[in-house]
Protein backbone atom coordinates (compact mmCIF):
# COMPACT_ATOMS: atom_id res chain seq x y z
CA UNK A 1 0.00 0.00 0.00
CA UNK A 2 2.80 2.40 0.85
CA UNK A 3 4.93 1.62 -2.19
CA UNK A 4 2.53 3.27 -4.61
CA UNK A 5 2.57 6.83 -3.27
CA UNK A 6 6.36 6.60 -3.04
CA UNK A 7 6.54 5.66 -6.68
CA UNK A 8 4.31 8.56 -7.61
CA UNK A 9 6.43 10.89 -5.53
CA UNK A 10 9.57 9.68 -7.25
CA UNK A 11 8.12 9.90 -10.76
CA UNK A 12 6.32 13.23 -10.58
CA UNK A 13 9.38 15.50 -10.60
CA UNK A 14 10.76 13.51 -13.55
CA UNK A 15 7.66 14.05 -15.66
CA UNK A 16 7.42 17.69 -14.79
CA UNK A 17 11.10 18.38 -15.34
CA UNK A 18 11.13 16.61 -18.71
CA UNK A 19 8.16 18.64 -19.96
CA UNK A 20 9.66 21.81 -18.47
CA UNK A 21 13.04 21.17 -20.06
CA UNK A 22 11.47 20.66 -23.50
CA UNK A 23 9.24 23.70 -22.98
CA UNK A 24 12.24 25.86 -22.07
CA UNK A 25 14.18 24.59 -25.04
CA UNK A 26 11.20 25.24 -27.34
CA UNK A 27 10.85 28.72 -25.90
CA UNK A 28 14.53 29.48 -26.55
CA UNK A 29 14.36 28.01 -30.02
CA UNK A 30 11.19 29.94 -30.94
CA UNK A 31 12.53 33.19 -29.53
CA UNK A 32 15.52 32.81 -31.88
CA UNK A 33 13.18 32.32 -34.85
CA UNK A 34 13.27 35.29 -37.27
CA UNK A 35 9.66 34.67 -38.32
CA UNK A 36 8.58 35.41 -34.78
CA UNK A 37 10.36 38.77 -34.72
CA UNK A 38 9.01 39.65 -38.13
CA UNK A 39 5.43 38.94 -37.04
CA UNK A 40 5.90 40.77 -33.76
CA UNK A 41 7.37 43.79 -35.55
CA UNK A 42 4.47 43.81 -38.03
CA UNK A 43 1.96 43.67 -35.18
CA UNK A 44 3.64 46.49 -33.28
CA UNK A 45 3.82 48.60 -36.46
CA UNK A 46 0.12 47.94 -37.08
CA UNK A 47 -0.73 48.96 -33.53
CA UNK A 48 1.32 52.13 -34.08
CA UNK A 49 -0.40 52.76 -37.42
CA UNK A 50 -3.78 52.58 -35.69
CA UNK A 51 -2.90 56.00 -34.26
CA UNK A 52 -2.52 57.31 -37.83
CA UNK A 53 -5.76 55.65 -38.91
CA UNK A 54 -7.57 57.36 -36.09
CA UNK A 55 -6.53 60.71 -37.62
CA UNK A 56 -8.54 59.93 -40.77
CA UNK A 57 -11.77 59.45 -38.91
CA UNK A 58 -14.53 61.64 -37.52
CA UNK A 59 -14.89 60.67 -33.85
CA UNK A 60 -14.25 57.06 -32.75
CA UNK A 61 -10.45 57.56 -32.48
CA UNK A 62 -10.14 55.41 -29.34
CA UNK A 63 -12.45 52.78 -30.77
CA UNK A 64 -10.34 52.45 -33.92
CA UNK A 65 -7.09 52.22 -31.94
CA UNK A 66 -8.58 49.52 -29.68
CA UNK A 67 -10.13 47.59 -32.62
CA UNK A 68 -6.94 47.61 -34.69
CA UNK A 69 -4.82 46.80 -31.64
CA UNK A 70 -6.92 43.80 -30.62
CA UNK A 71 -7.18 42.59 -34.23
CA UNK A 72 -3.39 42.81 -34.57
CA UNK A 73 -2.88 40.83 -31.35
CA UNK A 74 -5.33 38.20 -32.56
CA UNK A 75 -4.26 37.90 -36.22
CA UNK A 76 -0.50 37.99 -35.62
CA UNK A 77 -0.91 35.64 -32.67
CA UNK A 78 -2.67 33.13 -34.93
CA UNK A 79 -0.01 33.54 -37.64
CA UNK A 80 2.72 32.91 -35.06
CA UNK A 81 0.90 29.90 -33.62
CA UNK A 82 0.44 28.39 -37.08
CA UNK A 83 3.84 29.09 -38.65
CA UNK A 84 5.94 28.38 -35.59
CA UNK A 85 3.64 25.60 -34.33
CA UNK A 86 3.64 23.48 -37.48
CA UNK A 87 7.44 23.62 -37.85
CA UNK A 88 8.30 22.73 -34.25
CA UNK A 89 7.86 18.97 -34.50
CA UNK A 90 8.92 18.83 -38.14
CA UNK A 91 12.24 20.56 -37.44
CA UNK A 92 13.08 18.04 -34.72
CA UNK A 93 12.36 15.18 -37.10
CA UNK A 94 14.20 16.78 -40.01
CA UNK A 95 17.30 17.51 -37.93
CA UNK A 96 16.97 14.06 -36.38
CA UNK A 97 17.26 15.58 -32.91
CA UNK A 98 14.02 13.84 -32.03
CA UNK A 99 15.86 10.50 -32.01
CA UNK A 100 18.40 11.77 -29.49
CA UNK A 101 15.61 13.20 -27.38
CA UNK A 102 13.48 10.07 -27.43
CA UNK A 103 16.50 7.90 -26.73
CA UNK A 104 16.59 9.60 -23.33
CA UNK A 105 13.97 8.68 -20.74
CA UNK A 106 11.50 11.10 -22.31
CA UNK A 107 8.08 9.89 -23.32
CA UNK A 108 6.61 11.01 -26.60
CA UNK A 109 3.64 12.71 -24.92
CA UNK A 110 6.09 14.62 -22.74
CA UNK A 111 7.83 15.82 -25.87
CA UNK A 112 4.55 17.08 -27.43
CA UNK A 113 3.36 18.62 -24.15
CA UNK A 114 6.70 20.37 -23.71
CA UNK A 115 6.51 21.74 -27.24
CA UNK A 116 2.98 22.97 -26.57
CA UNK A 117 3.93 24.61 -23.26
CA UNK A 118 7.00 26.25 -24.81
CA UNK A 119 5.10 27.69 -27.76
CA UNK A 120 2.28 28.86 -25.51
CA UNK A 121 4.86 30.68 -23.38
CA UNK A 122 6.21 32.38 -26.50
CA UNK A 123 2.70 33.33 -27.60
CA UNK A 124 1.92 34.67 -24.12
CA UNK A 125 5.07 36.80 -24.24
CA UNK A 126 4.08 38.07 -27.69
CA UNK A 127 0.56 38.88 -26.58
CA UNK A 128 1.87 40.72 -23.51
CA UNK A 129 4.31 42.76 -25.67
CA UNK A 130 1.61 43.64 -28.20
CA UNK A 131 -0.81 44.52 -25.43
CA UNK A 132 1.83 46.75 -23.84
CA UNK A 133 2.28 48.52 -27.20
CA UNK A 134 -1.46 49.11 -27.37
CA UNK A 135 -1.59 50.18 -23.72
CA UNK A 136 1.14 52.80 -24.29
CA UNK A 137 -0.69 54.31 -27.26
CA UNK A 138 -3.95 54.43 -25.30
CA UNK A 139 -2.21 55.78 -22.18
CA UNK A 140 -0.81 58.69 -24.23
CA UNK A 141 -4.43 59.56 -25.07
CA UNK A 142 -5.40 59.20 -21.42
CA UNK A 143 -7.38 56.00 -21.99
CA UNK A 144 -7.37 52.96 -19.74
CA UNK A 145 -6.72 49.49 -21.12
CA UNK A 146 -7.96 47.41 -18.19
CA UNK A 147 -11.34 46.89 -19.82
CA UNK A 148 -9.62 45.16 -22.77
CA UNK A 149 -8.10 42.43 -20.60
CA UNK A 150 -10.95 39.87 -20.95
CA UNK A 151 -10.62 40.05 -24.75
CA UNK A 152 -6.83 39.64 -24.56
CA UNK A 153 -7.18 36.68 -22.20
CA UNK A 154 -9.65 34.98 -24.53
CA UNK A 155 -7.38 35.66 -27.54
CA UNK A 156 -4.66 33.79 -25.64
CA UNK A 157 -7.05 30.90 -25.00
CA UNK A 158 -7.90 30.85 -28.71
CA UNK A 159 -4.18 30.76 -29.52
CA UNK A 160 -3.91 27.76 -27.19
CA UNK A 161 -6.49 25.88 -29.29
CA UNK A 162 -4.77 26.86 -32.56
CA UNK A 163 -1.38 25.78 -31.17
CA UNK A 164 -2.82 22.42 -30.12
CA UNK A 165 -4.23 21.92 -33.62
CA UNK A 166 -0.91 22.97 -35.20
CA UNK A 167 0.89 20.33 -33.11
CA UNK A 168 -1.75 17.69 -33.91
CA UNK A 169 -1.51 18.27 -37.66
CA UNK A 170 2.27 18.56 -37.61
CA UNK A 171 2.35 15.14 -35.91
CA UNK A 172 0.28 13.73 -38.77
CA UNK A 173 1.64 15.40 -41.90
CA UNK A 174 4.18 17.81 -43.42
CA UNK A 175 4.36 21.50 -42.35
CA UNK A 176 2.63 22.94 -45.44
CA UNK A 177 -0.38 20.66 -45.13
CA UNK A 178 -0.37 21.12 -41.36
CA UNK A 179 -0.48 24.92 -41.81
CA UNK A 180 -3.33 24.65 -44.33
CA UNK A 181 -5.33 22.35 -42.04
CA UNK A 182 -4.72 24.55 -39.01
CA UNK A 183 -5.91 27.62 -40.94
CA UNK A 184 -8.91 25.61 -42.10
CA UNK A 185 -9.76 24.84 -38.46
CA UNK A 186 -9.36 28.54 -37.60
CA UNK A 187 -11.74 29.56 -40.39
CA UNK A 188 -14.22 26.77 -39.64
CA UNK A 189 -14.00 27.56 -35.93
CA UNK A 190 -15.18 31.09 -36.59
CA UNK A 191 -17.97 29.88 -38.86
CA UNK A 192 -19.09 26.85 -36.84
CA UNK A 193 -22.33 28.63 -35.88
CA UNK A 194 -23.38 28.43 -39.55
CA UNK A 195 -23.62 24.63 -39.32
CA UNK A 196 -26.84 25.07 -37.37
CA UNK A 197 -28.23 27.16 -40.24
CA UNK A 198 -27.00 24.60 -42.74
CA UNK A 199 -28.72 21.82 -40.80
CA UNK A 200 -32.06 23.53 -41.41
CA UNK A 201 -31.43 23.61 -45.17
CA UNK A 202 -30.22 20.05 -45.81
CA UNK A 203 -32.44 16.95 -46.04
CA UNK A 204 -33.06 14.93 -42.91
CA UNK A 205 -30.85 11.93 -42.16
CA UNK A 206 -27.17 11.62 -42.81
CA UNK A 207 -26.64 15.26 -43.88
CA UNK A 208 -28.21 16.63 -40.73
CA UNK A 209 -26.35 14.13 -38.59
CA UNK A 210 -23.11 15.23 -40.26
CA UNK A 211 -23.93 18.88 -39.53
CA UNK A 212 -24.53 18.01 -35.87
CA UNK A 213 -21.31 16.02 -35.67
CA UNK A 214 -19.23 18.81 -37.18
CA UNK A 215 -20.99 21.36 -34.98
CA UNK A 216 -19.91 19.52 -31.84
CA UNK A 217 -16.47 18.56 -33.14
CA UNK A 218 -15.30 21.96 -34.38
CA UNK A 219 -14.18 24.60 -31.90
CA UNK A 220 -16.61 27.50 -31.47
CA UNK A 221 -14.03 30.24 -31.62
CA UNK A 222 -16.71 32.94 -31.57
CA UNK A 223 -17.31 31.97 -27.90
CA UNK A 224 -13.85 33.39 -27.29
CA UNK A 225 -14.48 36.63 -29.18
CA UNK A 226 -15.50 39.50 -26.89
CA UNK A 227 -13.56 42.20 -28.72
CA UNK A 228 -16.66 44.19 -29.71
CA UNK A 229 -18.03 44.06 -26.15
CA UNK A 230 -14.84 45.32 -24.49
CA UNK A 231 -14.26 48.05 -27.07
CA UNK A 232 -17.80 49.38 -26.59
CA UNK A 233 -17.51 49.07 -22.83
CA UNK A 234 -20.43 46.68 -22.59
CA UNK A 235 -20.74 44.65 -19.41
CA UNK A 236 -19.23 41.16 -19.55
CA UNK A 237 -19.86 38.92 -16.59
CA UNK A 238 -16.93 37.26 -14.93
CA UNK A 239 -18.88 34.01 -15.14
CA UNK A 240 -19.15 34.11 -18.93
CA UNK A 241 -15.43 34.90 -19.28
CA UNK A 242 -14.66 32.04 -16.87
CA UNK A 243 -16.86 29.67 -18.85
CA UNK A 244 -15.21 30.72 -22.11
CA UNK A 245 -11.76 30.11 -20.56
CA UNK A 246 -12.93 26.69 -19.31
CA UNK A 247 -14.35 25.85 -22.74
CA UNK A 248 -11.18 26.92 -24.56
CA UNK A 249 -8.69 25.27 -22.21
CA UNK A 250 -10.70 22.03 -22.14
CA UNK A 251 -10.87 22.01 -25.94
CA UNK A 252 -7.13 22.72 -26.24
CA UNK A 253 -6.40 19.94 -23.74
CA UNK A 254 -8.49 17.46 -25.72
CA UNK A 255 -6.68 18.36 -28.96
CA UNK A 256 -3.32 18.20 -27.18
CA UNK A 257 -4.11 14.69 -25.96
CA UNK A 258 -4.99 13.73 -29.54
CA UNK A 259 -1.68 15.27 -30.69
CA UNK A 260 0.15 13.17 -28.07
CA UNK A 261 -1.64 10.03 -29.25
CA UNK A 262 -0.84 10.83 -32.89
CA UNK A 263 2.81 11.41 -32.02
CA UNK A 264 2.93 8.19 -29.97
CA UNK A 265 1.80 6.28 -33.05
CA UNK A 266 4.12 8.08 -35.45
CA UNK A 267 6.62 5.87 -37.19
CA UNK A 268 9.95 7.66 -37.65
CA UNK A 269 11.44 5.00 -39.89
Amino acid sequence: MSARPDRVRRRAPGIASAVLAIALNTFREAVRDRVLYLLLAFALILIGVSRLLSLLTVGSEEKIIKDVGLAAISIFGVLTAVFVGVSLVFKEIERRTVYTLLANPVRRWQFVSGKFAGLLAVLSLNVVLMFLGLAIILAIRGESTWALLPAVLLILVELGIITAFALLFSSLTNPILAAVWTFAVYVAGHLSWSLKLLKGKVPEGLSQWLCDLLYWLLPHLEHLNVKAEVVHGQPISLGSVGLAVLYGTSYALAVLVLACVAFERKDFN
Binding site: V58, S60, K63, D67, A71, K227, A228
Partner: protein, 283 residues
Protein backbone atom coordinates in the same frame (compact mmCIF):
# COMPACT_ATOMS: atom_id res chain seq x y z
CA UNK B 1 30.18 44.66 -70.56
CA UNK B 2 27.74 44.52 -73.45
CA UNK B 3 25.62 42.08 -71.46
CA UNK B 4 25.41 44.50 -68.56
CA UNK B 5 24.36 47.33 -70.85
CA UNK B 6 21.76 45.11 -72.42
CA UNK B 7 20.43 44.06 -69.02
CA UNK B 8 20.34 47.69 -67.87
CA UNK B 9 18.54 48.72 -71.05
CA UNK B 10 16.01 45.93 -70.66
CA UNK B 11 15.33 46.93 -67.04
CA UNK B 12 14.87 50.57 -68.08
CA UNK B 13 12.54 49.62 -70.94
CA UNK B 14 10.53 47.34 -68.67
CA UNK B 15 10.31 50.05 -65.99
CA UNK B 16 9.15 52.59 -68.58
CA UNK B 17 6.57 50.18 -69.90
CA UNK B 18 5.34 49.45 -66.36
CA UNK B 19 5.05 53.20 -65.69
CA UNK B 20 3.12 53.99 -68.89
CA UNK B 21 0.75 51.02 -68.76
CA UNK B 22 0.28 51.43 -64.99
CA UNK B 23 -0.63 55.11 -65.34
CA UNK B 24 -3.16 54.40 -68.09
CA UNK B 25 -4.69 51.55 -66.09
CA UNK B 26 -4.88 53.72 -62.98
CA UNK B 27 -6.72 56.48 -64.88
CA UNK B 28 -9.20 53.99 -66.29
CA UNK B 29 -9.70 52.39 -62.87
CA UNK B 30 -10.24 55.81 -61.27
CA UNK B 31 -12.94 56.66 -63.84
CA UNK B 32 -14.59 53.28 -63.30
CA UNK B 33 -14.37 53.54 -59.50
CA UNK B 34 -15.91 57.00 -59.47
CA UNK B 35 -19.11 55.69 -60.97
CA UNK B 36 -19.28 52.15 -59.61
CA UNK B 37 -17.37 52.15 -56.35
CA UNK B 38 -20.41 51.50 -54.18
CA UNK B 39 -21.70 48.70 -56.39
CA UNK B 40 -18.82 46.54 -55.19
CA UNK B 41 -19.39 47.14 -51.50
CA UNK B 42 -20.68 43.83 -50.16
CA UNK B 43 -23.57 43.48 -47.76
CA UNK B 44 -22.62 43.89 -44.09
CA UNK B 45 -24.01 40.50 -43.15
CA UNK B 46 -21.82 38.76 -45.72
CA UNK B 47 -18.79 40.77 -44.65
CA UNK B 48 -19.39 39.81 -41.03
CA UNK B 49 -19.27 36.13 -41.92
CA UNK B 50 -16.07 36.63 -43.92
CA UNK B 51 -14.40 38.72 -41.21
CA UNK B 52 -13.60 35.65 -39.05
CA UNK B 53 -14.10 37.39 -35.73
CA UNK B 54 -12.63 40.74 -36.85
CA UNK B 55 -15.95 42.43 -37.71
CA UNK B 56 -15.34 45.57 -35.64
CA UNK B 57 -12.00 46.38 -37.26
CA UNK B 58 -13.57 45.82 -40.69
CA UNK B 59 -16.34 48.24 -39.70
CA UNK B 60 -13.63 50.79 -38.80
CA UNK B 61 -11.95 50.41 -42.18
CA UNK B 62 -15.22 50.91 -44.09
CA UNK B 63 -16.12 53.83 -41.80
CA UNK B 64 -12.80 55.55 -42.58
CA UNK B 65 -13.26 54.81 -46.29
CA UNK B 66 -16.82 56.21 -46.16
CA UNK B 67 -15.57 59.45 -44.60
CA UNK B 68 -13.12 59.91 -47.47
CA UNK B 69 -15.80 58.92 -50.02
CA UNK B 70 -18.40 61.35 -48.74
CA UNK B 71 -15.81 64.10 -48.45
CA UNK B 72 -15.68 64.35 -52.25
CA UNK B 73 -18.27 67.01 -52.88
CA UNK B 74 -18.28 66.72 -56.67
CA UNK B 75 -19.99 63.30 -56.67
CA UNK B 76 -23.33 63.52 -58.45
CA UNK B 77 -25.07 60.68 -56.60
CA UNK B 78 -23.34 61.39 -53.31
CA UNK B 79 -26.36 60.84 -51.07
CA UNK B 80 -27.84 57.85 -52.86
CA UNK B 81 -26.41 55.03 -50.77
CA UNK B 82 -25.80 56.71 -47.40
CA UNK B 83 -28.25 54.43 -45.56
CA UNK B 84 -26.72 51.37 -47.22
CA UNK B 85 -23.17 52.30 -46.24
CA UNK B 86 -23.83 53.54 -42.71
CA UNK B 87 -27.06 51.75 -41.78
CA UNK B 88 -26.46 48.38 -43.42
CA UNK B 89 -22.78 47.74 -44.05
CA UNK B 90 -20.92 49.44 -41.18
CA UNK B 91 -23.53 48.98 -38.48
CA UNK B 92 -24.33 45.44 -39.58
CA UNK B 93 -20.66 44.67 -38.89
CA UNK B 94 -20.73 46.60 -35.63
CA UNK B 95 -24.26 47.42 -34.44
CA UNK B 96 -22.86 49.46 -31.53
CA UNK B 97 -20.96 51.87 -33.79
CA UNK B 98 -22.76 54.99 -32.55
CA UNK B 99 -20.58 57.41 -34.53
CA UNK B 100 -21.55 55.68 -37.78
CA UNK B 101 -25.29 56.28 -37.17
CA UNK B 102 -24.53 59.85 -36.16
CA UNK B 103 -22.28 60.65 -39.13
CA UNK B 104 -24.63 59.02 -41.65
CA UNK B 105 -27.55 61.02 -40.24
CA UNK B 106 -25.48 64.21 -40.29
CA UNK B 107 -24.63 63.72 -43.98
CA UNK B 108 -28.29 63.10 -44.79
CA UNK B 109 -29.75 65.94 -42.73
CA UNK B 110 -27.16 68.70 -43.01
CA UNK B 111 -25.75 68.05 -46.47
CA UNK B 112 -28.55 66.32 -48.35
CA UNK B 113 -31.32 68.17 -46.50
CA UNK B 114 -33.15 64.87 -45.94
CA UNK B 115 -34.42 65.13 -42.38
CA UNK B 116 -36.62 62.02 -42.48
CA UNK B 117 -33.89 59.76 -43.86
CA UNK B 118 -31.45 61.04 -41.27
CA UNK B 119 -33.91 60.58 -38.42
CA UNK B 120 -34.63 57.03 -39.62
CA UNK B 121 -30.90 56.25 -39.33
CA UNK B 122 -30.76 57.70 -35.81
CA UNK B 123 -33.92 55.73 -34.89
CA UNK B 124 -32.26 52.56 -36.18
CA UNK B 125 -29.20 53.35 -34.06
CA UNK B 126 -31.27 53.94 -30.93
CA UNK B 127 -33.19 50.70 -31.49
CA UNK B 128 -29.86 48.83 -31.62
CA UNK B 129 -28.38 50.81 -28.70
CA UNK B 130 -31.18 51.66 -26.27
CA UNK B 131 -28.59 52.74 -23.68
CA UNK B 132 -27.16 55.53 -25.88
CA UNK B 133 -29.06 58.73 -25.04
CA UNK B 134 -26.92 60.67 -27.51
CA UNK B 135 -28.80 59.29 -30.54
CA UNK B 136 -32.31 60.59 -29.67
CA UNK B 137 -30.65 63.72 -28.29
CA UNK B 138 -29.05 64.40 -31.69
CA UNK B 139 -32.36 63.63 -33.41
CA UNK B 140 -34.03 66.13 -31.09
CA UNK B 141 -31.52 68.81 -32.01
CA UNK B 142 -32.03 68.22 -35.72
CA UNK B 143 -35.83 68.48 -35.29
CA UNK B 144 -35.41 71.68 -33.30
CA UNK B 145 -33.16 73.14 -36.01
CA UNK B 146 -35.75 72.09 -38.61
CA UNK B 147 -38.40 74.07 -36.71
CA UNK B 148 -40.24 71.04 -35.25
CA UNK B 149 -40.08 71.63 -31.48
CA UNK B 150 -42.90 69.18 -30.74
CA UNK B 151 -41.06 66.34 -32.42
CA UNK B 152 -37.82 67.51 -30.83
CA UNK B 153 -39.51 67.30 -27.42
CA UNK B 154 -40.44 63.65 -28.08
CA UNK B 155 -36.82 62.81 -28.93
CA UNK B 156 -35.51 64.66 -25.87
CA UNK B 157 -38.11 62.78 -23.84
CA UNK B 158 -36.67 59.47 -25.08
CA UNK B 159 -33.13 60.71 -24.42
CA UNK B 160 -34.01 61.91 -20.91
CA UNK B 161 -35.55 58.51 -20.10
CA UNK B 162 -32.28 56.76 -20.96
CA UNK B 163 -30.16 55.97 -17.90
CA UNK B 164 -27.00 58.03 -17.75
CA UNK B 165 -28.40 60.99 -19.70
CA UNK B 166 -26.85 64.25 -18.42
CA UNK B 167 -29.02 67.00 -16.85
CA UNK B 168 -28.87 69.05 -20.06
CA UNK B 169 -31.15 66.51 -21.75
CA UNK B 170 -33.95 67.03 -19.24
CA UNK B 171 -33.60 70.78 -19.58
CA UNK B 172 -33.69 70.53 -23.38
CA UNK B 173 -36.82 68.40 -23.15
CA UNK B 174 -38.65 70.93 -20.97
CA UNK B 175 -37.44 73.80 -23.18
CA UNK B 176 -38.70 72.10 -26.34
CA UNK B 177 -42.12 71.39 -24.85
CA UNK B 178 -42.32 75.06 -23.93
CA UNK B 179 -41.34 76.15 -27.45
CA UNK B 180 -43.91 73.76 -28.90
CA UNK B 181 -46.54 75.82 -27.02
CA UNK B 182 -47.51 73.29 -24.34
CA UNK B 183 -46.82 75.63 -21.43
CA UNK B 184 -48.60 73.52 -18.80
CA UNK B 185 -46.53 70.42 -19.57
CA UNK B 186 -43.38 72.52 -19.77
CA UNK B 187 -44.18 74.03 -16.36
CA UNK B 188 -44.71 70.55 -14.93
CA UNK B 189 -41.38 69.38 -16.39
CA UNK B 190 -39.43 72.36 -15.04
CA UNK B 191 -41.11 71.85 -11.65
CA UNK B 192 -40.07 68.21 -11.79
CA UNK B 193 -36.41 69.28 -12.31
CA UNK B 194 -36.69 71.90 -9.57
CA UNK B 195 -38.12 69.48 -7.02
CA UNK B 196 -35.87 66.54 -7.87
CA UNK B 197 -33.26 66.22 -5.10
CA UNK B 198 -30.92 64.65 -7.65
CA UNK B 199 -30.86 67.74 -9.86
CA UNK B 200 -27.55 69.60 -10.06
CA UNK B 201 -27.33 73.23 -8.83
CA UNK B 202 -27.14 74.65 -12.39
CA UNK B 203 -30.25 72.79 -13.51
CA UNK B 204 -32.08 73.83 -10.36
CA UNK B 205 -31.17 77.50 -10.83
CA UNK B 206 -32.30 77.41 -14.47
CA UNK B 207 -35.48 75.53 -13.53
CA UNK B 208 -36.32 78.09 -10.85
CA UNK B 209 -36.16 80.91 -13.37
CA UNK B 210 -38.04 78.92 -16.01
CA UNK B 211 -40.85 78.01 -13.61
CA UNK B 212 -41.41 81.67 -12.74
CA UNK B 213 -41.16 82.66 -16.38
CA UNK B 214 -43.67 80.02 -17.44
CA UNK B 215 -46.04 81.05 -14.68
CA UNK B 216 -46.04 84.57 -16.09
CA UNK B 217 -46.54 83.23 -19.60
CA UNK B 218 -49.45 80.98 -18.58
CA UNK B 219 -51.03 83.83 -16.56
CA UNK B 220 -50.78 86.22 -19.51
CA UNK B 221 -52.11 83.63 -21.92
CA UNK B 222 -55.09 82.90 -19.66
CA UNK B 223 -55.80 86.63 -19.17
CA UNK B 224 -55.56 87.40 -22.89
CA UNK B 225 -57.94 84.58 -23.74
CA UNK B 226 -60.43 85.80 -21.11
CA UNK B 227 -60.15 89.43 -22.38
CA UNK B 228 -60.77 88.25 -25.93
CA UNK B 229 -63.82 86.22 -24.84
CA UNK B 230 -65.10 89.22 -22.85
CA UNK B 231 -64.72 91.57 -25.86
CA UNK B 232 -66.47 89.08 -28.14
CA UNK B 233 -69.45 88.75 -25.84
CA UNK B 234 -69.68 92.40 -24.63
CA UNK B 235 -68.31 94.36 -27.59
CA UNK B 236 -65.86 96.18 -25.31
CA UNK B 237 -62.74 95.51 -23.24
CA UNK B 238 -63.15 94.88 -19.49
CA UNK B 239 -62.60 97.97 -17.33
CA UNK B 240 -60.17 96.06 -15.11
CA UNK B 241 -58.84 92.57 -14.53
CA UNK B 242 -61.07 92.35 -11.45
CA UNK B 243 -64.12 92.77 -13.74
CA UNK B 244 -63.07 89.59 -15.53
CA UNK B 245 -63.17 87.74 -12.21
CA UNK B 246 -66.50 89.31 -11.17
CA UNK B 247 -68.15 88.36 -14.48
CA UNK B 248 -66.79 84.76 -14.16
CA UNK B 249 -64.28 84.83 -17.03
CA UNK B 250 -61.43 83.88 -14.68
CA UNK B 251 -61.43 82.21 -11.27
CA UNK B 252 -59.09 84.74 -9.68
CA UNK B 253 -56.83 87.60 -10.74
CA UNK B 254 -53.33 86.19 -10.98
CA UNK B 255 -50.39 88.16 -9.63
CA UNK B 256 -46.87 88.36 -11.00
CA UNK B 257 -44.36 86.08 -9.13
CA UNK B 258 -42.78 89.30 -7.78
CA UNK B 259 -46.09 89.89 -5.93
CA UNK B 260 -47.11 92.77 -8.19
CA UNK B 261 -50.17 93.27 -10.38
CA UNK B 262 -50.00 92.66 -14.10
CA UNK B 263 -50.21 95.85 -16.19
CA UNK B 264 -53.56 96.25 -17.94
CA UNK B 265 -54.71 98.98 -20.37
CA UNK B 266 -58.58 99.01 -20.56
CA UNK B 267 -58.48 101.13 -23.74
CA UNK B 268 -56.44 98.73 -25.84
CA UNK B 269 -57.24 95.59 -23.82
CA UNK B 270 -53.51 94.79 -23.60
CA UNK B 271 -52.15 92.94 -20.58
CA UNK B 272 -48.45 92.54 -19.83
CA UNK B 273 -45.93 91.81 -17.10
CA UNK B 274 -45.16 94.77 -14.84
CA UNK B 275 -42.64 97.14 -16.40
CA UNK B 276 -38.97 96.54 -15.66
CA UNK B 277 -39.56 92.91 -14.73
CA UNK B 278 -37.09 90.31 -15.95
CA UNK B 279 -39.67 87.55 -16.15
CA UNK B 280 -42.39 87.35 -18.75
CA UNK B 281 -42.70 89.42 -21.90
CA UNK B 282 -41.17 92.54 -20.40
CA UNK B 283 -37.81 90.76 -20.24
Amino acid sequence: MARRWLAGLLVLMAAGSVYVSGTVLERRAAARERSNQLLYLPNGRHLKVASLGQATVLADMIYIWAIQYYSEYERADRFRYVEHVFGEVITELDPHYVDAYWLGALILIVEAGELERGLALLDQGFAANPDKWILPYLAGWECWLAGQPGRAADYFDAAAATPGAPPTVRRMRAGMVSRAGDLETALALWNEILEDPGSDPTSRAIAERKVLDLRVQTDLRELRAAIERFRFENSRFPGSLEELQKRGYIRGVPRHPDDRDYDYDPRSGKVSAPEGRVLGESA
